[in-house]
Subunit: 148 residues, 2 copies
DNA sequence: ATTTTATGTTTCGCGGTGCTTCATCATTAA
DNA sequence: TTAATGATGAAGCACCGCGAAACATAAAAT
């Protein structure tokens, strides 16, 4: 279960240093085989390969005639890259993915249970505003009667 | 059942000293395993791990395609960190969480039954104003017929 | 006075950063 | 056409700095 947010920096070569506390967890699944891809909300997704495969399979099963489905397929599958951390726990993020997510010097690594998300810092702040802006914290209907 | 409000200070390293009266209660659940995370109202939530898990499970069950749901997931799960108090009862609050809640020198620790909330002092005062400003204390309809 | 709480200090180990080396590919010349 | 040299980019290595935890001292309460 991946949790926790940390602000990190990409070095001049586009390498992202994963915090040590998360490395073991990432290495233990799929022998460290990871998949990095693009998310519609303009962030990147980092999955252990075993966790990614069923998602990609599901995506590919969608109708390729529906415009939105096939656009989603193109995004998720098209940008997906297999990779693994180097000996000191860094991920080499390709120029295409860096450009997609607007990653420059500073990035945000955010645990999301089954995977991590990697955000441009400003985009992350905008993301938080979506929740915090709503004064009455209008919750999705699924959460009716639910309380923190 | 956690109750009571106390003003406390973070030391220069971001360590928050939990008042002694609450330590035993926090240690007794989950063998002292705690989860600290972010709340949309810009405060932090401190849960015993066992109490947090079902909440996170519920959050993760929401649609990740809905913008508001996924923003809420990102906030609650993304900022969640497992931790425990050090030998003298202090919590090491990560830079990400400190920045989120605007915690500096002074903080407010507020018991909320199942969990604690940790507030920036000014944000806490503003929070109080929300209730006190409304002259007739207009309550949500759920509280119809309810009286203090 | 003794035990419990609070705060400040120090130390050690490891994590992060930058540099160096190695490999691969491309370009040019023989 | 093949070989050689240079450039680009990835991976390995080493060192330095910081962060976490333990320790110690001071204060307070019972």
């Amino acid at each position: 279960m991946f949790r926790g947010a940390s602000s990190l920096s990409l070095d001049v070569k586009g390498r992202l240093a994963v915090p040590a506390k998360h490395r073991d967890a990432l290495l233990s699944q799929s022998a460290g085989q990871l998949v990095l891809t693009a998310h519609p909300h303009r962030c990147l997704l980092l999955y252990p390969q075993v966790a990614w495969e069923p998602i990609q399979a599901k995506m590919m099963s969608l109708s390729s005639f529906d415009k939105r489905s096939s656009a989603l397929q193109r995004l998720l599958v098209g940008y997906a890259e297999d990779m693994q951390m180097d000996a000191v726990g860094r991920l080499l993020v390709s120029p295409a993915l860096r450009e997609f997510a607007g990653l420059d010097k500073q990035a945000m690594l955010v645990g999301q249970g089954s995977h991590f998300e990697i955000w441009n810092l400003d985009a992350w702040r905008a993301q938080l505003d979506i929740v915090m802006a709503s004064e009455d914290l209008a919750l999705p209907t699924e959460l009716e009667g639910f309380s923190l």
